[in-house]
Symmetry: C2
Subunit: 188 residues, 2 copies
DNA sequence: GTCTTCTTTTGACCTATATCAAAAAATGAA
DNA sequence: TTCATTTTTTGATATAGGTCAAAAGAAGAC
């Protein structure tokens, strides 16, 4: 639930929570829908109430590279694009029929200006995103393909078996052939 | 200068700036000094007024892996350890005689509670760190060794020739032999 | 200035994973 | 159910960059 996730970071009062939540909108989104395309400005921050999303970008050769997965109870956005209101480098896509809560950048700015605690929330959220991406970086940079897959299973236990193998392979920086072999314990 | 860097993010008043700066301490640190070791809680956030620092960690085989370089006008810390006051995964080391401004976590918390704008500053700083690490991740994950070195030259133009080659190689996820060959344009 | 230590370069060889190609399996539409 | 499409698996081969070893060069200590 979104309220629980908010309270987990900052102890908002009941009234504050109500005010904050009133700035969000519920959106039901179907599988395979693309929320943001490369080049567009991402004007919303989403909270995944139900379902799975991912961000990805296209390499020059046209291949998709998954950048991140967003599972239940996580905020989802093209962070840089949202906060700087700059063209997104990434696509945002929904991988299963999902229920999202979204807030626009304008409304977020209102909340950030109104509540000191809201700034704190987003600060803590940003630091958490940072920590997670550092974790991935360390996995991707210095581990074998097998170890990277183990990292994936630990970071996204509930997602690893619900999305196409190719998405996971590109997320981990390997080909899908390699990931397929890993899953089936084939040495070469 | 630290004041310019602060104002660049958030428009602090003169009085606010004075108050904030009074919470920092100037530290002159000599080359090769280690500010934080793995396992210690990083209690300070540093601003590099002059010099260069880096963060690194040790792999199980004992090899050092440079995680980040901190040049002039940048904040330096073991971010996760500082903000969560948890044991640092990284070492922080000074690579040239440097002038730093430091603030303790306690004093930072005072400022964060006192000034809404301070929360905003750290939020923006966190998002910037996030953006930079994502940039590195994309470089490391999908580019050739040569392209990764080009990324390094772009991200740290003033640093690339002042630190040992081995530090840069591990930062980029390659061996120093490979980086040496790249610098000398040897194909194999 | 000489010696020691640390850093960088060069060479030979090896391996993890990529690439290419095609078969097999799963999914979804009609 | 059948056909078309997408996803996954399997096999054969190639290669970027790793490993190991040693020489060359640079930097500090005395």
């Amino acid at each position: 639930m979104i309220t629980d996730s908010l309270i987990k970071f900052v102890p908002f009062s009941h009234d504050e929570l109500n005010d904050i939540l009133s700035h969000f909108e519920k959106e039901c989104v179907q599988k395979n829908q693309v929320l943001i395309k490369e080049g567009q400005v991402c004007n919303k921050l989403y909270f995944v109430e139900q379902g799975i999303g991912r961000s990805y970008y296209l390499k020059k050769d046209g291949k998709e590279v998954t950048q991140w997965f967003f599972g239940v109870d996580n905020f989802m956005s093209s962070a840089d694009s949202f906060f700087h209101q700059s063209p997104s480098f990434y696509y945002l896509e929904i991988l299963e029929d999902s229920v999202l809560y979204s807030i626009t950048k304008e409304k977020m700015d209102i909340l950030l200006a109104k509540y000191h605690k809201m700034e704190k929330l987003i600060r803590l959220l940003s630091i958490e995103m940072f920590t997670k991406i550092v974790h991935k970086l360390n996995a991707v940079q210095f581990q074998t393909a097998k170890e990277r897959y183990d990292y994936m299973l630990a970071e996204f236990p509930d997602i690893s078996n619900r999305v196409p193998l190719g998405h996971i392979a590109s997320y981990l920086g390997m080909t899908q052939e390699t990931l397929s072999r890993i899953r089936n314990n084939v040495s070469s």
